[in-house]
């Protein structure tokens, strides 16, 4: 294990996050490094060992999900080039989405005479003055639609992820908090959902709706991720039920409801946030797949990358492949960005990598 003192200035956060043993290597009395209290007491070798035990106790009783865990993870993220690339992609994507109306030169649904004039079934105008990406199949400015597409794609991805996360966390928390037969029933339910291929489940859900809309797509894509979130949270909650800090809270007479809400849930959320980042990538890919199968959003005015790729991109692939290339490239880059960021985050919070 690396001696933290060999890396001065790193400022290792201390509250209850260091693996057992690490702190014992730390020479006594580094004032200002982490919470004091028990640190000053340690003198000599015996003191070292005692302090290690106290540290362990502190870790057990303190809230291990406190600032330090995030600060520690954040520190590791900032040094990881993969995380930075992911974060830059995601950041740019979100910025473009927010400022889409300012960036895009035209209204994404306006049809231009100079574009529709040359429009036929087997010829769609390419780049012209004022329209850098040319026309879409309806004579609209393709560049503006691509820019506005970031907005709709972000909307679909975020909403699908949030709905999946909320339902999954709810199921997982209930299962993990109550245990017993509630747990058995809920986990059987997730088993049934996991037994279905994800896209098949999404297809079935869309087919269930009387008519498809943007919401059926969002909902179908969201439901697919519910069992994953539920399993994740439940596993984490079950592990914590037996952990020392929950035992300590219980011994102090904290109400069961508060133990779940204040002690168990916050500690499980890190893993959930990481999963959400990864889910976002899957959500926009699944939404594109549904559009491709003809089960997507039927609104022809909506500029969303998955929709543009799955419908126009497919239909006019021979005529003008750019209609598929650009949205596909946008989806790949954004999905890649979220995946990189999510995996770097997962690595950062993995206790195996904590030093």
């Amino acid at each position: 294990m690396t001696d933290p003192t060999t890396r001065p200035g790193v400022g290792k956060p201390r509250t209850g996050d260091s693996p057992a043993g690490t702190s014992a290597e730390d020479p006594a009395g580094q004032p200002g490094d982490g919470p004091a209290g028990h640190r000053e007491r340690s003198i000599g070798r015996l003191g070292d060992r005692k302090r290690a035990r106290l540290d362990e106790l502190a870790r057990a009783t303190a809230d291990p999900g406190g600032v330090s865990l995030y600060r520690d993870a954040l520190r590791r993220l900032r040094r990881n080039p993969v995380a930075i690339v992911g974060a830059v992609i995601v950041g740019l994507f979100v910025l473009v989405a927010i400022f889409a109306p300012l960036i895009a030169p035209h209204d994404p649904v306006q049809r231009f005479d100079e574009l529709t004039r040359d429009l036929t079934v087997d010829s769609i105008p390419g780049a012209t003055a004022g329209h850098p990406f040319g026309s879409d199949p309806l004579g609209r400015d393709f560049f503006s639609r691509m820019i506005h597409g970031s907005r709709q794609t972000l909307f679909v991805g975020v909403l699908a992820t949030l709905i999946g996360l909320t339902l999954g966390v709810l199921l997982g928390a209930v299962a993990g908090a109550f245990g017993g037969w509630v747990d058995v029933v809920l986990m059987r339910l997730t088993d049934v959902m996991l037994a279905l291929p994800s896209l098949l489940l999404a297809i079935t859900l869309v087919a269930m709706a009387s008519r498809s809309s943007q919401w059926t797509v969002i909902f179908a894509v969201a439901i697919v991720s519910v069992p994953i979130f539920a399993r994740l949270l439940r596993g984490s909650m079950l592990a914590q039920r037996e952990s020392d800090h929950v035992l300590a809270a219980r011994a102090l007479g904290v109400k069961e409801r508060n133990i779940v809400l204040r002690h168990m849930l916050p500690n499980s959320l890190t893993a959930v946030i990481v999963q959400a980042t990864l889910t976002f990538a899957v959500a926009i890919l699944d939404a594109a797949a549904l559009s491709f199968l003809g089960l997507g959003d039927p609104d022809i005015n909506r500029a969303e990358w998955g929709l543009m790729l799955g419908v126009d991109g497919q239909r006019y692939f021979e005529v003008r492949p750019e209609l598929a290339y650009y949205p596909a490239l946008a989806i790949i880059v954004v999905a890649l960005g979220f995946t990189l960021l999510g995996e770097a985050m997962r690595e950062a919070i993995d206790p195996k990598n904590r030093r």
Binding site: V192, P197, L199, S210, F317, I332, L336
Partner: protein, 335 residues
């Protein structure tokens, strides 16, 4: 061991019954259900009532479900609303096509993924490793139907290396025995038919293999990296064992357990991917059947049967995977 298998099979039955009940009730309670699909929206109330009675939809849902299960157990899954053929026939026609495609994709994914993952781990941080990781990230981020179109465009239109769609050339005189065209050709000694089917199979299989391949490479790499750090590998090296022996007996054998689990779980991804791949290459398997069952009027009996079949395949494959642990790793007690 036998007791374990029996218990797992019983669990499987429970899962399937729960799933069938959910789907059954769900499907019957939907707007735009099968009655509308059969008659269209402008049918007279009298005709609708007649059909509802004929289909038995006027009875309590539990009775309907009981009758449905009774028929299912005798192998009768009803008739397709679209074609009128028995659902079992419709599915039996499409099933081999999808299995052939999925099996080919899995062979590519495992055959390429495990060695690539192993090499990436062995040469960690080197060019090969970095390229492999970049490739896998791209593989899981690309919409596979887009990849399919791209491959198809380049390899069948620009340069005519592969046929653009279908399972076999038109006019190819092939005898169907099992429904797996490549295998049929071998069985009946019609080698040209077999080769032709294989030629049609390659592009769709590569397209479908993308995601499982990426996942298997990553898992293998991570798993091998874990094992490489183990003391027993160092011991084996110190003992002066041959490189090949260490690789086979010490590294791969121990690293393979998570990989086998992944292979099982990827069955689901294969079935999802098949829906997209089959549409791109006009493959005519279960994936095509699903798409057609939804877009061409909601063919619920077919849809329902495919969903149950997919779940059955997925659970069975994962049961086999769990049981195979005992063979790969004698320490594992299957519980």
């Amino acid at each position: 061991m036998l007791r374990v298998i029996v218990r797992r099979l019983l669990q499987l039955v429970v899962t399937l019954i729960a799933l069938s009940a959910l789907i059954f009730i769900w499907l019957r309670n939907l707007p735009g259900g099968p009655v509308e699909a059969l008659l269209g929206e402008r049918a007279t109330p009298e005709r609708r009532a007649l059909l509802i009675k004929a289909l038995g939809y006027d009875q309590p849902i539990l009775v309907q479900y009981g009758k449905f299960m009774q028929r299912v157990l005798t192998g009768d899954l009803g008739n397709s609303i679209r074609s009128g053929d028995p659902v079992t026939d419709v599915i039996a026609r499409a099933f081999p096509a999808t299995i052939e495609l999925a099996a080919a994709a899995m062979i590519i994914a495992v055959g390429l993924g495990v060695p690539l993952g192993y090499l990436a781990a062995r040469y960690r941080g080197r060019l090969l490793d970095n390229l492999t990781i970049a490739g896998t990230l791209l593989g899981i981020s690309i919409p596979i139907f887009f990849l399919g179109y791209l491959l198809k465009d380049v390899l069948t239109q620009d340069i005519h290396w592969f046929p653009p769609s279908g399972r076999i050339s038109t006019g190819m005189d092939n005898t169907t025995v099992t429904g797996f065209y490549v295998l049929d050709g071998l069985l009946t000694r019609e080698l040209d038919a077999s080769a032709d089917a294989l030629w049609h199979l390659i592009l769709p299989a590569i397209t479908l293999a993308t995601i499982p391949l990426a996942v298997i490479v990553r898992i293998t790499r991570a798993s091998v990296l874990d094992v490489l750090n183990e003391d027993y590998v160092r011991t084996a090296e110190a003992k002066g064992l041959r490189h090949r022996t260490i690789r086979g007996r010490h590294i791969l054998r121990n690293a393979l357990l998570p990989v086998v689990t992944t292979i099982g779980l990827q069955t689901g991804a294969l079935l999802s991917g098949a829906v997209l791949t089959e549409k791109v290459y006009n493959w005519g398997g279960l994936g095509t059947l699903i798409t057609d069952s939804i877009s061409g009027g909601r063919d619920y009996p077919v849809l329902q049967a495919i969903i149950l079949l997919a779940a059955l395949v997925f659970v069975l494959v994962n049961l086999l995977v769990d049981l195979s642990y005992a063979f790969i790793d004698p320490r594992v007690r299957v519980r």
